[in-house]
């Protein structure tokens, strides 16, 4: 068996993990499965692409690759802008759709169905704006470096792994060491108690939407940089994202990341062991197994 599956799995797992952190945060605080979360990955990637394109139009020097990577300064600058824009998009969707359901005290199934609708609308809008033709941040070819142990990785891949690690550690520290992080955990556990403990629950909900969308944007950009950008980029990752959020334990940031890596490695292993056509089934099998054996996941708290 080729050990390269480990590197492939870690890269895919980092993308899944980052997306799953957003899923686990929104699920634990908003208390419904947001099936539109995948679209935030796609929108994040396309927004970064659009901004990078605009920056490249304004200054061609910004598209010149920064050695040893395949992209120029336009991408990191556009990534920062896209993170903000994706966060604003999530806040807009919440303001237009979900907040009215919350005010009415709608059942969870209504929220879930609304998220399906939002997903469809956001994806269709992307296809309308950008077409379904694949797009790329860069078409520069990179040669994978030997890392030892039969593993190879391109500088872009190593950078993205580093970005994922930094993002998860940052979010974990935010959740455990800051006022807003403690407030988020408090709202996740008991929104009514949080409100009488002085926490502005609506502010926490806005923060969660923004943070989840920001992480989705980073995951989308990673996927777009390492693979390609398509309107279905996020939709195709939805099952692995939810499998990772549940495997990691709802509400656990490190759990979601670790579970993302586990799912990525299992997928890569399945590609080698039984064929690429079984890749998508891996998340489904893991999801069912976790729900049957340990529904609270690896790091979830017992209710």
């Amino acid at each position: 068996m080729n050990p390269q599956f480990i590197m492939d799995g870690l890269i895919a797992g980092a993308i899944i993990g980052l997306g799953a952190v957003g899923v686990t945060l929104t699920y634990s605080i908003l208390r419904f499965s947001n099936f539109a979360h995948g679209e935030l990955l796609s929108w994040g990637a396309y927004l970064a692409l659009a901004v990078a394109g605009a920056l490249g139009f304004l200054s061609a020097g910004l598209t010149k690759p920064i050695a040893p990577f395949s992209f120029g300064w336009a991408l990191p600058i556009s990534a920062v802008i896209a993170i903000g824009l994706t966060g604003l998009l999530a806040l807009a969707v919440d303001a237009l759709l979900f907040s009215s359901f919350r005010r009415r005290g709608s059942a969870i199934i209504i929220m879930v169905m609304a998220s399906f609708g939002a997903s469809l609308a956001l994806r269709s809008l992307l296809e309308f704006l950008f077409t379904s033709k694949p797009a790329y941040f860069t078409k520069a070819l990179q040669i994978a470096m030997k890392l030892g142990g039969g593993l190879r990785a391109t500088p872009d891949q190593l950078l993205m792994l580093g970005v994922a690690l930094v993002a998860v550690v940052t979010v974990h520290l935010l959740m455990t060491r800051t006022d807003i992080g403690r407030a988020m955990r408090a709202v996740s556990e008991n929104p009514a108690l949080a409100s009488i403990a002085g926490i502005d629950v609506r502010r926490v909900i806005r923060t969660v939407w923004f943070l989840g969308a920001a992480l989705a944007c980073v995951a989308g950009i990673m996927s777009g940089l390492l693979i390609q950008i398509r309107p279905y980029l996020g939709h195709d990752l939805l099952l692995p994202l939810f499998a990772a959020a549940i495997l990691g334990g709802i509400g656990s940031v490190p759990g979601a990341m670790l579970a993302g890596l586990i799912i990525g490695l299992c997928e890569a292993l399945a590609v080698q062991a039984v064929g690429a056509e079984w890749r998508a089934a891996v998340s489904f099998v893991i999801l069912i197994a976790v729900l049957l054996v340990r529904p609270r996941g690896l790091f979830g708290k017992a209710s």
Binding site: A192, L193, K301
Partner: protein, 247 residues
């Protein structure tokens, strides 16, 4: 009597607009009082105090705190206004540590003052100071109640409302909790207490109010109510007016 620090006027509240549980309550508490709300199960005591705290929708009437209308102020703003509420159950963040529970409580203070505020709470509740990294969910019933009260007192509120703080506690711990409430009141904090433990509550109260069917049925001095056999029999479910309340 001094001007009321907390009052309600014609308050109607309940989870459904067509089914009010609180049916027009005119009520006031003066600064420094320890008022106990009594009444049979289903009288609307808990709903009334939850409505004051902002956890139950208000359909009519007004509510004033320190002369300010807080009828439709959100629960977290009421905390900042000086109204603290300790619910009967699920009154601590069980998955968080003692310290984290208190850090949430002092988050409204400037950062420079938070450490001193937490230290002051620890010196007031030394049981909590022993192991601040302990999960609140692992605490005993009495310790949880202490933490819940400490959390409520973190911002030095002028008014604290407690919903059945003795529920589910052993007689020894109940006695400690009531001693603590007495001390809090003696420190200048106005206390509004919902209780089923009639005898213990009347022993520390400066005034008692009996609710029945969502309205005020009786109010008076604790000793008057305790010695009134009719009040005890009809509203408190006690044979002689001063025994323990029904479960």
């Amino acid at each position: 009597m001094t001007a009321p620090i907390l009052s309600t006027h014609g308050l109607v509240a309940g989870y459904e607009p067509d089914l009010p549980i609180v049916r027009g309550i005119d009520f006031s508490v003066s600064s420094g009082e320890l008022v106990v709300l009594l009444g049979p199960n289903g009288a609307g005591k808990s709903t009334f105090v939850k409505a004051i705290a902002g956890l139950v929708p208000i359909h009519a009437g007004t509510m004033m705190l320190n002369g300010r209308d807080i009828t439709h102020v959100s629960p977290h703003r009421k905390v900042a206004e000086g109204l603290a509420f300790v619910p009967q159950t699920e009154n601590v963040f069980a998955t968080m540590t003692i310290l984290e529970n208190l850090q949430i409580a002092v988050a409204h203070l400037p950062k420079a003052k938070r450490g001193a505020a937490i230290e002051a709470l620890f010196s007031r509740f030394p049981d909590l100071a022993a192991r601040p990294s302990r999960l609140a969910g692992a605490l005993s019933g009495g310790q949880r109640q202490m933490l819940a009260v400490a959390r409520a007192l973190a911002l030095d509120p002028p008014v604290i409302i407690l919903d059945e703080p003795s529920a589910g506690l052993s007689p020894k711990i109940v006695s400690e909790v009531f001693d603590m409430l007495k001390a809090i009141n003696a420190g200048g904090v106005t206390v509004l207490l919902v209780e089923q433990n009639v005898k213990a509550a009347l022993a520390i109260a400066s005034r008692a109010v009996i609710l029945a069917e969502g309205r005020i049925a009786h109010e008076g001095l604790p000793e008057e109510l305790a010695s009134d056999p009719l009040v005890g029999k009809i509203y408190l479910g006690t044979a002689h007016g001063h025994q323990g309340a029904p479960a």
